[in-house]
């Protein structure tokens, strides 16, 4: 499979107390392949959203991307770009859609102008041509009566419609890579199903690589080819979807599975992970999960690297070297 | 802005806020402690030869036409002006908060009536009303003047508080209190009021500056604080006659007014920045 984008050792720092720095994203690496979806799974505080922002140099001040981080799109390291060349990547080769369609769309501009703005920013076309493209995009994302909808303002549309418009805006630049940061979390479950169908279809028809950021394991099961689980700024497990669900191997992943209520199957008491996710300035040394892990491994005071437990299946855990 | 009070450290976030806080503290200390070190502001040691002396080592701000030490008078004036401002603002804030909370929480007809009164009152220029009353009531005591300034200054605050209350009313903790059986009084004073303290504090700080200017203006017209009680406005008024030969008599009180109002405004700016949801 063709690799379109590679993230290597991405580290993002923020100022902590008394002049120290904390690293909410601490050495994240993965690849995105054409026509495939990678799901980045984690809870709040895992660093998943910040990772996405980092990929496009959108980290809010006072955070900064640490040297040594690489985000390579084809031949170009995006993190080395500035100004005009960076702008030519954003929207045109990598696009991003966000969680809350209520606040991601500009309320004072019509749908049409928000889409054509992107078209004009990246392509040299006439206004008529841009409008035609906008209408075609609305149709592609499944909005009925696209010509009428072009004239609408965001507040006149439902949540599901707005998210479709966001997807249309993202596609307007004809990107190779699409980052979707919790695109359905704010939507009802029936609408969520609609939006995920749209995204899947577009991924296939446009041959895009998709990075899907979510906390919902159900969405991951249905829509992702590969999964990376994040905890405390690091990827702790990485595997093809089927492998991850068949054999979740990192204790955190197992804990997540134990916490998820199921619609089918035996109805048992949920077994949640004890305690809370620690904040970046209070991460345990060595293995960051050790304070909540049911297993006490003698080597846990040393930070484990990603180790293989199966074909293409890695975990950041000493258990990979054999049971204790 | 949210209603939480700012953390002590965050008020000092910007250099201008730090400057404001420092300056206002200095002025307060000056007003409180100076009389201990300085000559009595009413003392007129040597009326003839000591009058209208330019600033010197003995009298850093010079002396006025009655040989009084200007520095001592400016310090005394600080106490008067700041006390007038503090009491009047406290009165105005209390009234404004009360009306604002009741209007915001009760809603409906009560709110409509109260806000129409406020709208009407805001349409009338405050200075005008005060001048009228001062002209009608000869020799109005200072206490009454402070009261009037307070009573004419709560309208804007009530709108501010009402707006906060309208927002807070829909917050979960207010619903929770009602669901627990809290009556309107408890909801308003235990839950709503403490959460409006942030914007209220900012408004109060700005109001202090306004009142200082207002009082100075009235005193300058001879209508505010009456001699021999020193006040900055009164001192500027007195210094008019000798402006060309002894400008320091008017300049220093004037500078004191500017410095105080400026530092109070800077402090208010710092408070406002500390309250903004940036660090929520």
């Amino acid at each position: 499979m063709t690799t379109l984008l590679e993230v290597k050792n991405l580290r993002i720092s923020f100022p902590g107390d008394a002049g120290t720095r904390v690293y909410p994203v601490d050495g994240v690496s993965f690849v995105l392949e054409r026509g495939r979806t990678l799901a980045l799974v984690g809870e709040s505080g895992s660093g998943k959203s910040l990772t996405a922002l980092g990929m496009l140099q959108l980290v809010p001040a006072p955070g900064r991307i640490e040297p040594g981080s690489v985000v390579r799109l084809g031949e170009t390291d995006i993190l080395a770009l500035k100004g005009e060349s960076l702008r030519r990547i954003r929207g045109r080769r990598i696009a991003m859609i966000f969680q809350d369609p209520m606040t991601s769309l500009n309320p004072v501009f019509t749908v049409e102008s928000q889409i054509t703005e992107v078209v004009h920013a990246h392509f040299d076309v006439s206004r008529g041509e841009a409008r035609d493209r906008a209408a075609a995009l609305l149709e592609e994302v499944g909005i009925p009566d696209p010509l009428a909808r072009l004239k609408a303002y965001p507040h006149q549309l439902s949540g599901g419609m707005r998210q479709r418009v966001m997807i249309a805006i993202a596609l307007a630049g004809q990107p190779e890579v699409l980052i979707a940061d919790e695109p359905t979390t704010a939507l009802d479950v029936t609408v969520q199903a609609q939006i995920l169908e749209v995204l899947d279809g577009l991924r296939e028809s446009h041959g895009m690589a998709v990075l899907l950021i979510t906390h919902d394991l159900g969405i991951v099961a249905g829509r992702a080819d590969r999964v990376a689980v994040m905890y405390a700024g690091q990827i702790v497990e990485s595997a093809p979807t089927a492998s991850l669900f068949a054999r979740p191997s990192h204790p955190y992943t197992q804990g997540l599975f134990g916490s998820v209520p199921r619609l089918t199957g035996a109805l048992g008491r949920l077994s949640p992970i004890p305690g809370n996710v620690p904040p970046p300035d209070a991460w345990p040394s060595g293995c960051r999960f050790r304070t909540r892990c049911p297993i006490v491994h003698p080597r846990s005071e040393q930070a484990p690297p990603l180790l293989p437990v199966g074909p293409d299946h890695l975990i950041r855990c000493w258990l990979a070297e054999g049971p204790e | 802005m949210n209603g939480a009070l700012p953390r002590a450290g965050s008020i000092l976030g910007t250099p201008s806020a730090r400057a404001g806080l420092l300056a206002i503290t200095a002025i307060l200390l000056f007003g409180a402690l100076a009389p201990l070190a300085l000559p009595d502001p009413a003392a007129q040691p040597d009326i003839v030869s000591g009058a209208l002396q330019p600033p010197s080592a003995a009298a850093p701000f010079g002396t006025d036409e009655l040989s009084r030490d200007v520095l001592a008078r400016v310090a005394a004036g600080a106490r008067v002006s700041l006390t007038v401002a503090a009491i009047a603002v406290a009165l105005a804030m209390t009234l404004g908060a009360l009306i604002g909370i009741v209007a915001g929480y009760a809603g409906g007809a009560v709110d409509a009536v109260l806000m129409r009164i406020v709208d009407g009152a805001l349409a009338v220029p405050r200075l005008f009303v005060l001048l009228l009353l001062l002209a009608a009531w000869e020799r109005m005591p200072l206490v009454a003047l402070i009261g009037l300034i307070g009573v004419t200054g709560w309208f804007g605050t009530s709108r501010l508080v009402r707006a906060e209350v309208l927002r807070l009313r829909e917050e979960g903790f207010v619903h929770a209190a009602r669901a627990l059986g809290a009556g309107p009084g408890r909801v308003m004073f235990r839950h709503l009021l403490p959460n409006t303290l942030g914007p209220l504090l900012v408004a109060a700080t700005l109001a202090v500056g306004d009142v200082i200017l207002l009082e100075a203006g009235l005193s300058f017209l001879g209508l505010g604080v009456r001699p021999p009680t020193p006040s900055w406005g009164g001192m500027i008024y007195d210094g008019r006659a000798v402006l060309t030969v002894a400008p320091w008599v008017s300049i220093f009180p004037g500078l004191a007014i500017i410095a105080t109002v400026l530092s109070v405004n800077l402090l208010a700016g710092g408070l406002k920045a500390a309250l903004s949801p940036r660090d929520a």
Binding site: E43, S44, S158, M161, D188, V189, T190, V191, Q192, A193, Q194, E197, H215, D216, L217, G218, I219, V220, A221, G222, T241, A242, F245, G255, L256, G258, S259, V260, P261, R262, L263, T264, L267, R269, L270, P272, I273, N276, V277 | N2, G3, A4, A112, E171, G172, F173, H175, A176, A177, R178, A179, L180, G181, A182, G183, R186, H191, P194, N195, L197
Partner: protein
């Protein structure tokens, strides 16, 4: 079978535009004739998506809002007819916990004061010492350290704040709690902790819950019975397992089909609803779901006649053609 603890009949709640000069806009018909019962010690889940009216039901039955019409009988008392003092006394027995852990606690009150509020309002403690003791034991009961009483809400995580909210509701010793989406805003592992807590509390204290949610998998963990709402009506109700295994209303089927199941091998064809949710101020005539319904037997009758909840197989469904399953794709 003892009498139900709560009986709600034909509850209606309409919202009108406010203000003296509001245009004659049609009211939002959030709840338009809803009836159900909750037994002692049991949990009824009220499930639906945004705009279905479930939150309005929750708030109205404890009179945080006044109903437009209908009746609610709690332990024999007519909730909507109670005057101020009897209503305040009733508030001890019916409590509520909220969805948003970040706005449900007063940021200017300590945790201890927040939990003690009900104790103070109803004068349940004879002395300050007794009050503090009660607060400490409540905090421990919900899995928090008693020393947290001196701290402020902003020092705690979402899950911990929800626990504080639960302690606050328990302080007045209710027999019934409206749980308004209490875990929707929480992370997966925290959600599981709070769900377990709610279950344990129910067992230990004999509580009844009206559990409002949109996630059917969550509901399965805690509710014995479920009522599914759509646009202000209950469209199906029944025992949880029965409703999940053999739903008879097309909307329930679509809802179930849309829930993503964390099992790649269980991926199935999904029923994807067409169109948008109609506006609650202008609901479709007849069966409110007919504009998006995919039932093969859909007819004119659906457009003109409002279906009534009636027993069909293992549940009660409001559909003219509930005897025939709507879709082979249905669970």
């Amino acid at each position: 079978m003892s009498a139900p603890l709560l009986m709600v009949r034909d509850l209606v709640k309409h919202y009108r535009s406010e203000g003296l000069f509001a245009r004659k806009a049609p009211p939002v018909r959030a709840v338009d004739g809803v009836s159900f019962e909750v037994g002692r010690g049991e949990t009824l889940a009220l499930v639906g998506e945004s705009g279905c009216g479930k939150s309005s039901v929750g708030r109205t039955i404890i009179r945080l809002q006044e109903p437009t019409s209908g009746e609610a009988i709690f332990d024999g008392e007519p909730v909507f007819q109670l005057a101020r003092e009897p209503l305040r006394a009733l508030r001890r027995r019916m409590q509520i916990i909220f969805q948003d852990p970040y706005s449900s606690l007063n940021p200017r009150m300590t945790v201890g004061d927040a939990v003690a509020e009900g104790i103070e309002i109803h004068r349940l403690a004879g002395s300050k010492a007794e009050r503090n003791e009660r607060v400490a034991s409540l905090l421990e009961e919900v899995g928090l350290d008693a020393s947290y009483a001196r701290r402020y809400p902003h020092e705690f995580s979402g899950g911990q704040r929800q626990r504080i909210g639960i302690a606050r509701a328990l302080a007045v010793e209710p027999s019934f709690i409206v749980c308004d989406e209490p875990v929707s805003a929480l992370d997966v592992s925290v959600q599981a902790q709070v769900l377990n807590l709610l279950r344990d509390l129910q067992e230990r204290r004999g509580l009844s819950y009206l559990f409002i949610a949109h996630d059917l998998a969550v509901v399965r963990q805690i509710a014995q019975r479920v009522a599914v709402m759509y646009l202000g009506h209950i469209v199906e109700t029944g025992p949880t397992e029965a409703l999940l295994s053999d739903p008879r209303h097309p909307y329930t089927q679509a809802l179930l089909s849309a829930v993503p199941e964390p099992d790649p091998s269980a991926q199935r064809e999904r029923i994807v609803l067409t169109g948008d949710l109609p506006s609650p101020s202008n609901p479709p005539p007849g069966c409110r779901f007919h504009t998006r319904c995919f039932h093969p037997l859909r007819s004119e009758r659906c457009r003109t006649e409002v279906p009534v909840l009636r027993p069909v197989h293992q549940t009660e469904a409001a559909c003219h053609y509930a005897e025939t399953p709507a879709s082979p794709l249905a669970r």
